[in-house]
């Protein structure tokens, strides 16, 4: 896969940016923070209309047969506009898990709905600090799930979840329909992500992969999601850098634009470094899908994109001074999103360990 975007891919970037800039603004996003259980449905409607939900899925199941590069481009734009409802990654992750590891029946049953966006998927692997726990808190017995999956992104709205479970001491990757599960709302610093704890009580589930292969499968799904999330983070970081730059050239103090002070201009130049490293790692990771070093590349993208977004949102606020911390200006939407994306699909500790394990050929 080329690391240069072709014309079609560039058109995806331009068009998705145009659409999102026209349909999403901060005044719609701010109220979402004040209640739980709401997301930007305008974004999801747009995603469905534009075929973004179908983009990276197989044609045979209603998809468009494109890949990580194309979906990554859209995620980048969604990150810029803060519009990414969690399903862009969670439905995608659930669909990929089913596509890669499911039976024909499972694919036929779930993929068309996920491709059209009518079905919303979630990925429930984590248990507290552990993105892929050695002993998952959710157990599988007799095709039924019991236990709680914590902090599931999109969990409040999802129809189905792909769950990493413990099946008599061995891991298993399963699908559960969430009609049979309870959802405990998490009142979050980024409420539009619809975080929930999913509580399973004898919830029927179907197995996708069982045994040791389930852990590798789960890591692969996380890596696919991580690449999309990293694009979203890189987009967010990029727009924070641009907003900081625009403010620094217009706002004056001591008789000159504040961007003329090296403390400010160097801070913004450093952001450029963070953004470009994250972008480069994202493009590289997306191009490595299917290769032996894919997980390594995904981990690197995740680390640099998390650092870029956190740093850019933090510094952008700092450059704005007091105005930067007002509710109204909305920079905090990015501060919040930077942190929520940082801990979805595995935190920094997780990806650092994955990366070092891969580099050294052994786990700590």
């Amino acid at each position: 896969m080329s690391i240069l975007y072709d014309e079609g891919q560039q058109a995806i970037a331009t068009e998705s940016r145009r659409v999102l800039e026209a349909r999403v603004n901060k005044d719609e996003l701010l109220p979402l923070l004040e209640t739980t259980g709401r997301y930007h449905d305008g974004f999801w409607t747009t995603a469905k209309e534009q075929g973004w939900t179908a983009l990276a899925l197989p044609e045979a199941y209603g998809g468009l047969d494109l890949g990580l590069i194309e979906l990554g481009l859209i995620a980048h734009q969604a990150g810029r506009s803060l519009s990414g409802a969690p399903f862009l990654t969670s439905s995608f992750g659930a669909a990929k898990a089913i596509e890669l590891y499911g039976s024909e029946e499972q694919k036929a049953k779930y993929l068309p709905g996920l491709a059209s966006g009518e079905t919303i998927g979630a990925v429930a692997f984590a248990s507290g600090a552990s993105a892929l726990p050695a002993a998952p808190a959710v157990t599988l017995a007799d095709n039924r799930l019991d236990g709680t999956a914590t902090g599931v992104s999109g969990g409040l709205a999802a129809d189905i979840a792909v769950v990493f479970a413990n099946s008599s001491g061995t891991p298993a990757l399963v699908i559960a329909e969430l009609a049979g599960a309870r959802r405990n709302t998490i009142d979050s610093f980024d409420n539009s992500r619809l975080f929930a704890d999913l509580v399973f009580q004898a919830t029927p589930a179907e197995t996708l992969v069982a045994g040791d292969a389930a852990r590798d499968a789960a890591l692969h799904v996380l890596a696919l999601q991580a690449v999309i999330t990293a694009h979203e983070q890189a987009g967010g970081a990029e727009v924070m850098m641009e907003i900081a730059r625009d403010y620094a050239v217009t706002r004056k103090a001591f008789g000159q634009p504040i961007g003329a002070f090296q403390s400010i201009k160097h801070r913004i130049a450093e952001l450029y470094g963070h953004v470009e490293l994250a972008r480069a790692n994202c493009i590289h990771a997306a191009s490595r899908e299917g290769q032996a070093d894919f997980v390594t590349a995904a981990a690197a993208a995740r680390l640099s994109a998390t650092e870029a977004y956190d740093t850019a949102s933090r510094d952008c606020v700092q450059i704005h001074g007091g105005m930067g911390v007002t509710w109204e200006l909305g920079l905090h939407l990015h501060t919040r999103r930077a942190r929520s994306l940082a801990i979805e699909q595995g935190n920094l500790f997780f990806w650092e360990d994955v990366l070092v394990d891969r580099l050294t050929g052994e786990a700590a």
Binding site: G259, I264, L277, I283, S304, L355
Partner: protein, 401 residues
Amino acid sequence: MSNLEAYRAKAAAWLESMVPTFGKEARKGLSVEEDLAVGRKYQRAKFDAGYAGINWPTEFGGQGLGHLEKVTFDTEEMKHGFPSFYFGISLGMPIPVLMQFGSDKEFVKERVLKALKGEEIWCQLFSEPAGGSDLAGLRTRAEADGNGWKINGQKIWTSWAQYCDYGVIVVRTDPNVVKHKGLTYFWVDMKAPGVTVRPIKLVGGDSHVNEVFFDDVKITDDHRMSPVGGGFAVAIATLMIERYVATDSAGFGPHLDLFVDLAKEVELNGKPAIEDGRIRQQIARNFAMRSGLQSITARAMAMMQAGMTPGPEGSLNKLVAVRSRQKLSELAIDLQGSGGFGYDDHASQKEDWTSSWINAPTGRIAGGSDETLLNTIAEKILGLPQDHRPDKGVPFNQIPA
């Protein structure tokens, strides 16, 4: 295999065959003078094999190939530690400038060929004690003298000047106009009467940079390579010549693999350091940073191959890589604790953490300091305002010294 990949394979095979004669092992224990002699032979071998002046016009003895072939060869060459650095400045800037701006074509051709064969070396006399990042602030002057010029003043940080035959120099020819309008660009004979070269010993122990003093050095007007007062433009052209050079995401320090090896060997709290979270975090963060730089470089190469111009993000390489090399080298020494005191000033910066660490500041200063690079990124790429410059519009001789 693409043409470029075929070129790479051929170059790699040739370079491999040169290792026994010119590689690190063959050069161990040589004095600088002996090593330079080996370097000249290596440069000659490159010329004979068609790997000198790869992207230069054939009329001057080059190979007439593209920039991609040049960067490809350099990238392969970098892996072996050959003595090519003596010619890096010479062939990097002064000679290309001579080809572009030298008026006497026969003279130029002779110089270019000798430089390509390693017989002559050129230096670049830009920096001064009072003019480093502020290139146009230089004070070395040339006054009209009969039908030529007389140069007086001092240059500094001149790489390899003690071994050079010629140099290119920017001097002040008119102190009565604003600073960058009063400069003129010449070439000089480094063996001319009045030129004194004094090596500067650096922290790492070597002395490849020099102070160069000019004391009534007389040159004829045919040494002039710019209009009188038009030297600044040529100086900038010099700095712009190699827009894309072979890069190293390790900042020309040790590869991350060496750090991983060290972390496996050293014990921390009774366990291999590689199991320590603090060490693991640094490895992971460094890997992510370096892989980002490599991806930027790979993308730039792919763009050039497609006939496009690479983006400005290539400018991040030196800034990001050398800083991280410095910190990782500190950490590597730290990790060895009381076993980390040793120092060998002949050790390679690419393989030895202590050598890498003590020499790292040079990498953060030479060729544009971190601060200069950040200014360039901010102003040229992001459109932020220029720094406040009180010397703007003021004749040079009225700027407070």
